[in-house]
């Protein structure tokens, strides 16, 4: 089976551990996002896969073949760099044709492939320009074209959208996702932006401080994070966390926070009474209303003090009883001065973590 297998990779620079025993299997024809904050080790992982960096320990297998000691040119892996890495002394055409020339294709074959990919990416009219004459978005497309023009087994993308403005980023996400699917390619994409993973990825690998925290289908990682750490770092805007205490009353079990109380009797076998838990609620699982909502949901009063409109969506910052709460609304909502409203959520979306070891219990 064609796949990229990363086995027990470790890497340190001087005294700093950058990657610590990372193992994952990236399936063929899939879109995988390596998610982590700046300095988490994701770029190093890509560079090791590409072969421009040697791991201290561990092996890399591509289609079952050990490629750990192969030089980059013999790996058939393409990479798109964050800073584009276009050759400044070559035209766009020569930049894109470069990997084809290395493969000794004939002039007409090269011509055909370059024209086809530049057509796909809408950069046909830029072919005779030099990189310094391109805008950020155009340079990005050229960099992607140079990678996609080859038939690589794996395409590595190192934060290719980070340097672009919001609008282009949105459009490119859609395009990359479609390209991966339509052309049946294998993408490994490093990003510090949870939205990249949420909007494009089939699978996501969450990395922090060089350790692989969780790897799985994007929706699984998002809706069912393994522990508090994954829940906190993977999500945009960040998840709301509440301290809570499990209490037994009249034979029913409740989780009590400073803001609300939830009946969790049906999870009785997973929770212990008189123990502290952390409750996580994703900002987009919260909604607002003028009054208290119906029985199915949990409501509590908050004071909105800031709203931040992004595109057609709104991130609301609220506080209540000394706690900060982030609410994500899928529509535009503006306030001119602090506003008292109720926020509510469906208890089905509740995430409960053990406060002692951080692991998810519900």
């Amino acid at each position: 089976m064609a796949e990229l297998k990363i086995e027990n990779i470790s890497k340190r620079f001087m005294d700093k551990v950058v990657l610590d025993d990372v193992s994952l299997i990236i399936p063929h024809k899939s879109f995988t996002v390596i998610y982590g904050k700046a300095g988490a080790g994701k770029t190093t992982l890509l560079r090791i896969i590409a072969g421009v960096e040697k791991p201290d320990k561990g092996r890399i297998y591509l289609n079952g073949k050990d490629i750990t000691d192969l030089p980059p040119k013999d790996r058939n892996i393409a990479m798109v760099y964050q800073n584009f890495a276009l050759y400044p002394h070559m035209t766009v055409y020569d930049n894109i044709a470069n990997p084809l020339r290395a493969r000794k294709l004939t002039k007409s074959q090269i011509d055909e492939k370059v024209n086809k990919i530049s057509e796909t990416l809408g950069i046909r009219e830029l072919l005779s320009r030099y990189p310094k004459e391109l805008s950020g978005g155009q340079a990005q497309r050229v960099a992607i074209a140079r990678a996609l023009v080859r038939d690589a087994d794996v395409y590595l993308l190192d934060e290719p959208l980070t340097n672009l403005d919001y609008k282009i980023r949105e459009a490119m996400r859609e395009e990359l996702k479609n390209m991966c699917k339509d052309l049946s390619l294998t993408f490994v994409y490093a990003s510090p932006d949870p939205l990249d993973a949420l909007m494009m990825a089939d699978k996501v690998a969450v990395i922090n401080n060089g350790k692989l925290l969780q790897y799985g289908l994007t929706k699984d990682v998002y809706y069912s994070p393994k522990d508090i750490e994954v829940a906190t770092i993977f999500g945009s805007p960040p998840i709301n966390m509440f301290e809570s205490y499990a209490k037994e009353e009249n034979g029913r079990l409740f989780l009590e926070t400073r803001l609300f109380k939830i009946d969790v009797t049906k999870y009785k076998d997973k929770l212990l009474p008189n123990k502290e838990y952390k409750i996580g609620i994703r900002p987009h699982h919260l909604a607002i209303s003028k009054g208290i909502q119906a029985n199915e949901t949990i409501s509590f009063p908050v004071e909105l003090y800031l709203t931040h409109v992004v595109g057609a969506e709104t991130i609301c910052y609220a506080r209540s009883n000394g706690l900060e709460i982030t609410i994500y609304l899928p529509y535009i909502y503006r306030i001119n001065y602090p506003e008292k409203v109720y926020t509510y959520f469906n208890p089905e979306h509740l995430l409960v973590f053990d406060k002692d070891n951080g692991l998810k219990v519900i």
Partner: protein, 278 residues
């Protein structure tokens, strides 16, 4: 705006500029006019500002009265040879220090630089002895090797900043495209560092072409002597100081440098100011 705006600071600036120009260009002017003057006029007192009876005699006679053509060729060979040697040694050392971190890298760079602080005169005797050991005394090859070696620090330090400025991602990307590291170096790094390479080449050529001290001690025959040595041979002797021939030969010596400087002047300006801003 007042077109003829006058300010004292401007005036001082202009006066200083004129002084600097006179200071720099007067010897050049003297040399050029001396080449056209007669043997008597050149030593006349008070000196004449323009040649009274301009003559081209000296431009012809320097090719016939002594083996200056050999000296000329030797100078060109030594400067080109030394440039090749200095680049061949300096480029790898600059590249290595720019791209790889290793224990003692700063010490290596500093040591390389200290060689440049060393006045050549202090090592001329050992260099003579070493040259004799390898039967290299009185050869153009030995001059090229020495000029090259002396200039390795300059090449290393100028190109170090160039190579550091070229993102390593470009080389990596080139390798991922399907080439070797050396291919990436040749097709990406070297072309991008070209202004720097051109600039240091010029410095080395100017140094090698103008050196007198080393050549005067390590060469003895027309087969190896260089132009500056040839010029010095018009000093003293039975005819005394032959200023006219010296001036004419100097002008011939300036020509190749001027041609090359003119050809690469764009690279040169960029090369020498690179990294100064930003």
């Amino acid at each position: 705006m007042n077109k003829s705006k006058f300010s004292y600071s401007n005036l001082i600036y202009v006066i200083l500029l004129i002084l600097v120009l006179v200071w720099t260009l007067l010897p050049v002017y003297w040399t050029i006019t001396a080449a056209f003057k007669s043997r008597l006029e050149v030593i006349a007192w008070p000196p004449t500002f323009f040649p009274q009876k301009p003559t081209l005699n000296w431009f012809v006679s320097v090719w016939t009265d002594r083996p200056n053509i050999n000296y000329y060729i030797n100078s060109i060979v030594a400067s080109i040879g030394s440039t090749i040697i200095a680049l061949a040694l300096g480029i790898p050392s600059a590249y290595g220090c720019a791209r790889y971190t290793f224990r003692g890298r700063q010490d290596v760079l500093f040591t390389i630089l200290t060689f440049r602080f060393l006045p050549p005169a202090t090592v001329i005797v050992p260099l003579y002895l070493i040259g004799r050991m390898f039967h290299l005394i009185d050869t153009t090859l030995y001059l090229a090797i020495l000029y090259g070696a002396i200039n390795v620090p300059i090449v290393t330090w100028v190109l170090l900043s160039y190579f550091k400025e070229i993102p390593v991602e470009l080389e990596e990307s080139y390798q991922l495209d399907g080439y070797t590291l050396f291919g990436a170096f040749r097709k990406v790094t070297l072309p991008l560092a070209r202004p720097g390479i051109v600039a240091v080449s010029m410095l080395i050529m100017a140094f090698s072409f103008g050196d007198f001290l080393i050549a005067s001690i390590l060469t003895t025959s027309p087969a190896a002597k260089t132009l500056p040595v040839g010029i010095s041979e018009y000093m003293g002797g039975e005819w005394g100081y032959m200023w006219n021939q010296m001036a004419a030969l100097t002008i011939y010596g300036l020509i190749p440098l001027l041609i090359i400087f003119f050809l690469v002047r764009k690279n040169l300006v960029r090369g020498l100011t690179f990294g100064a801003v930003k």
